[in-house]
């Protein structure tokens, strides 16, 4: 049986490196997926996710438990993402993984479940890349809220806690983010050969 977050936090606070490593293992997928969807490429995502855990490590002695560890980690991840975007904007860096392999996990599952043809696999990879590009073109706040809601499946209340805003703000921001994504997607879909997935 896995120790609860609270136990791991306490042990980590007492300095047990193994306990902190369990926290890392428990949350690395969430953090890494947020980082990857936020930045759009694996290389930067790995660096960012590592930075997230280093910040968590540094901040752990001050963690009061007012929010859950999950929420706290999401909040730190969001902050690190924002910092990274600002850093990249200063450096004018844009890097997005494209082409086959960008979504290997999907491709493998797809292959196992439905047996798509190689052409379909390539097409799906391209479609996922298109979606990622649309996501990457959004503002950082819209990106973050879409990742939190659609991919991490956080509730409105959790999002409000992570982003430290009201429920009303979450509702309106998410609405605007969805509309913004739809517009990006529709514009790009014109150049994409897949069947229409949206009705204008």
């Amino acid at each position: 049986m896995q120790p609860a977050d609270g136990v791991l936090i306490e042990r980590s606070r007492n300095g047990e490196l193994d306990a902190f490593e369990q926290i890392v293992r428990r949350y690395e997928n969430k953090v890494y997926n947020i980082a990857y969807r936020f930045l759009g490429n694996h290389s930067d995502a790995a660096d960012l996710a590592q930075e997230v855990f280093l910040r968590i490590y540094k901040a752990l002695p001050g963690f009061r438990g007012d929010s859950s560890l999950t929420t706290w980690i999401y909040r730190i991840t969001s902050n690190v993402c924002r910092d990274e975007i600002r850093r990249q904007q200063r450096a004018h860096v844009v890097s997005i993984d494209t082409g086959p392999g960008e979504n290997n996990a999907y491709s493998v599952n797809h292959l196992e479940n439905r047996g798509p043809t190689p052409e379909e696999v390539v097409e799906q990879d391209e479609f996922n890349s298109l979606v990622q590009k649309c996501l990457s073109e959004l503002s950082e706040e819209h990106r973050l809220i879409l990742i939190a809601r659609e991919m991490q499946e956080l509730s409105y209340e959790e999002i409000a806690e992570v982003m430290q805003c009201s429920l009303g703000t979450v509702k309106s921001r998410l609405s605007r983010a969805r509309h913004a994504f739809k517009e990006k997607y529709l514009a790009r879909r014109e150049h994409f050969s897949l069947d229409s997935r949206l009705v204008r």
């Binding site: 980590s12 606070r13 007492n14 300095g15 047990e16 490196l17 193994d18 306990a19 902190f20 490593e21 890392v24 293992r25 690395e28 997928n29 890494y32 997926n33 990857y36 969807r37 694996h42 995502a45 790995a46 996710a49 590592q50 855990f53 280093l54 490590y57 540094k58 002695p61 979504n103 290997n104 996990a105 999907y106 491709s107 599952n109 996922n128 979606v131 990622q132 996501l135 879409l146 659609e150 991919m151 409105y156 509702k171 309106s172 998410l174 609405s175 969805r178 509309h179 994504f181 739809k182 997607y185 997935r197 949206l198 009705v199 204008r200």
Partner: protein
């Protein structure tokens, strides 16, 4: 309700988070407005598309990388932080709850801090030196108890002169075979700070431009088929002479050479040992061993059971990560002498202490060989 009002609420409507009054109003509007129905459908597709994006896995070794980063962070932020580290049930402590008490004067911690910031004497260093010996062996060599009988042991002599501090490898007939380490007489007021770019740069240059943190591995003499004769007496082997600069202190030149036996380079043997060795000075062994254990675990290695001696430990790390581990050990801030690559050498021994670590190491090697598993380098750490 107007279309623009409805469109503002379609997103929360889709998620079912509106109150019943608003929900019913929108429902009624959608029943008569195809444009808003199309908009709702589009938003539903947006959600579906984003939810369908595949999850991705972190790269292999991500957790280990985080762990290593933390260890490096600790070493960087707290190079002499002995007071903040202790052991709890074999687990190294990352940080203490409260402020670490300042080390008392005269303690090893105090000495360590002085050492780190340059206020130390070589006399004190020698007296309190912890000798870390890293014997790296990638294949089986005789049992430690047989080393003497096989003539595997040779001597490492620590001696001092006006020009510095030397470590020389000698034959049984006491003829110098080669210099292992030369510590130059200081020209600065203190030690270069371990882990600083300057300190690393010095080492890299003197190790013939090997990557930072890498041991001067597998000296050339070790290669099969090369001449067996060692270099002329006193001649330095540049590839094996990374030097650390130490503080000049005339009082420190009064010590007789310290002699240790070291597993002989078996270049004249059929056993092509592949090994390297280094020695370092530290002060607080329990602190140092805790950090070394952290590093070993983080690298995928582990700590062997305690030896007979209270202040010694043996860790095993994947041979391929040896340089990385040694680099981290160097950044602990207590390394004073390092990079003394012993040709085919193994672990240092003074010839009279327990062979327990070597036995354990030896047994570990045999186990690995028999199991065909990944080879591990062995690092024996012993307090002197």
């Amino acid at each position: 309700m107007q279309c623009h009002e409805v469109k503002e609420l379609l997103s929360p409507y889709l998620d079912g988070v509106l109150n019943s009054a608003k929900r019913e109003s929108i429902y009624a509007h959608l029943a008569v407005c195809p444009g808003c129905r199309a908009e709702l459908h589009a938003l539903g597709e947006v959600v579906s598309i984003l939810k369908a994006l595949p999850a991705v896995d972190p790269p292999a070794g991500f957790t280990a990388g985080v762990r290593m980063s933390i260890i490096q962070l600790r070493a960087t932020e707290n190079p002499a932080g002995a007071g903040q580290i202790d052991e709890r049930g074999g687990q190294a402590v990352l940080f203490s709850r409260g402020a670490a008490p300042p080390p008392a004067k005269g303690t090893t911690v105090s000495f360590l801090k002085n050492l780190t910031f340059g206020k130390w004497s070589l006399t004190a260093a020698l007296a309190a030196t912890l000798v870390l010996t890293a014997g790296v062996t990638t294949m089986v060599y005789g049992l430690p108890s047989q080393w003497g009988a096989k003539g595997l042991l040779q001597r490492v002599v620590f001696s001092e002169s006006k020009s510095g501090f030397n470590v020389t490898l000698q034959d049984d007939n006491e003829k110098p075979r080669r210099d292992l380490l030369k510590v130059k007489a200081p020209h600065t007021d203190g030690l270069p700070q371990p882990g600083t770019p300057q300190g690393r740069e010095d080492t890299v240059q003197e190790q013939n431009a090997q990557p930072p943190g890498q041991l001067p591995s597998a000296p050339q003499e070790q290669e099969p088929g090369e001449a067996k004769a060692g270099p002329p007496a006193g001649r330095q082997q540049p590839e094996a002479l990374p030097a650390a600069k130490v503080l000049e202190n005339d009082e420190s030149r009064q010590h007789a050479p310290k002699t240790f036996n070291v597993l002989r380079n078996e270049k004249d043997s059929a056993v092509p040992l592949q090994s390297a060795a280094l020695s370092v000075a530290a002060a607080d062994f329990s602190w140092f061993s805790g950090k070394a254990a952290d590093i070993a675990r983080a690298s995928g290695g582990f700590v062997l059971p305690d030896g007979k001696e209270p202040e010694e430990m043996t860790i095993r790390v994947p041979a391929g990560r040896l340089d990385e581990v040694v680099g981290l050990l160097r950044e602990l801030g207590q390394v004073q002498f390092e990079g003394a690559a012993v040709n085919g050498g193994g672990s240092f021994t003074d010839g009279k202490s327990s062979d327990a670590p070597q036995n354990q190491a030896r047994q570990g090697i045999e186990a690995d060989v028999s199991a065909g598993e990944v080879e591990f380098a062995i690092i024996t750490i012993r307090a002197r």
